[in-house]
Symmetry: C2
Subunit: 138 residues, 2 copies
């Protein structure tokens, strides 16, 4: 498999923290498809980088900057899945693609995508337009 980025670790930690109050080494590792020692190593790096607070044998929680990064990523992710959804991509697939794309698209571009998603949701004719597209290319 591909090497994981800092951002992917941060997302996983955010998910686990939300679900269980903190992110433990083993849970991070199994969620990301790596072995526990790899997770430990990254946790130490992320602590150094100031993105998490990490206690040995205890787990990690996001710091302020870590939380901000996680929120940005979540927002990007949601925008991208919403767009792919509009374009008729099956939801599970949209989610998988978003996991990748979110790390490689610029902030400005995501804003435009968000504008479009909002436009489609708010505009009467837009819904009709999207339905027509979907029915034509089913």
């Amino acid at each position: 498999m591909r090497r994981k980025t800092i951002e992917e670790y941060i997302e996983t930690i955010a998910l686990l923290e939300e679900r269980e109050g903190r992110a433990q080494t083993g849970a991070i590792a199994s969620n990301m498809g790596v072995k526990p020692p790899s997770a430990t190593e990254m946790l130490q790096k992320l602590e150094q980088a100031g993105l998490i607070h990490y206690e040995s044998y205890d787990g990690a929680v996001l710091t302020g900057p870590g939380r901000r990064l996680a929120d940005e990523l979540t927002e990007k992710h949601r925008t991208i899945t919403d767009l792919l959804d509009i374009l008729g991509v099956e939801h599970g697939q949209a989610d998988l693609d978003a996991c990748q794309i979110e790390h490689h698209v610029s902030a400005g571009t995501v804003e435009r995508l968000a504008d479009f998603v909002e436009f489609v949701g708010s505009d009467e004719a837009a819904g009709e337009f999207v339905r027509r597209f979907r029915s034509r290319y089913r």
Copy 2:
């Protein structure tokens, strides 16, 4: 900078081959922002992988499989820039984003994007719809 993938090397080689008949080590390196020895190393790997035909001191050209991969990537790239264009992303930025996204989006999803691009281009009301979006979120 980030590490380059095989796909990025293939794209650069395709570009240079089209422009100059073959892709030379130095040109590849400067196009990709790496040093010549790094390019040499990758060329040897790509030759092993059967994606290029490479002669020492002479340069590389794509093989059949290499050409097919390059064409797929070009097609993905074009689809993504077209879509971002429709969504109002500035063209240079769209191109940069496409360079990244194309390596991380699934084939099936790109097909849906292509459908949408085609729909917008072929449907009367669609063009109108897109114009309205663009003028509202200028």
